[in-house]
């Protein structure tokens, strides 16, 4: 059986997207949640690239990794870092 290495990487990225999304929501530390959502966004950018939309891959990589976590980190510094009980 020939294993398609590209599909194996795609499987890993899809699992990474799902696990990253759940982990970002379950994380108590909001700063860590912002970084995990950025990592999830990189895996999503790979899937965009694999689906033959390279412009979307580049845009998602920049926006999802720098801008969105940056905005959330700004909100955390203006409010509080941990979730209250």
């Amino acid at each position: 059986m020939i294993i398609d290495s590209f599909m194996v990487i795609a499987y890993i990225m899809v699992v990474g997207i799902t696990v990253g999304a759940v982990a970002a929501l379950l994380q108590k530390d909001l700063l860590r949640a912002a970084f995990i959502s950025g990592a999830e966004s990189i895996a999503l950018a790979f899937i965009f690239q694999a689906l033959l939309a390279p412009d979307l891959g580049v845009t998602q990589a920049i926006v999802g990794t720098v801008l969105l976590p940056g905005l959330i980190i700004l909100a955390i510094f203006k409010t509080r870092r941990t979730e209250e009980e």
Binding site: I17, L52, L56, L71
Partner: protein
Amino acid sequence: MIEISLQLLAFIAAAALVIIGLAGLLLMDNLIKKIIAFTLLSDGVNLLLVAVGYVQGGVAAILEPGDSVTEFVNNAVLVFPVGIVLTNIVIGVSTTAILVALVIMLYRRHGTLKASKVLKEEKR
């Protein structure tokens, strides 16, 4: 082993993202967590639209000088979802910026990030 195409894999990932984002938007009590769940939901919808436009064994929708136009039309992925999603990603950033500003104003007014507490104090 069942053969799963890349398109079906992308559909599964999009469904998972939409479900996780919707659940987080409804169940999380923290306002910043709600913002993160909103971006996840938006990512899921974007991925669904791109996966709809995917063509198996096609080429990216970039026409280079010297390419045959007929071949490009027959093989390229759909251009319309890609353009829509590119717009949606950029609009999503500005929506998130407005949400962040609103959350900061709510925190200054109520001193808390819990949605239930903010709602209770707003009703009074």
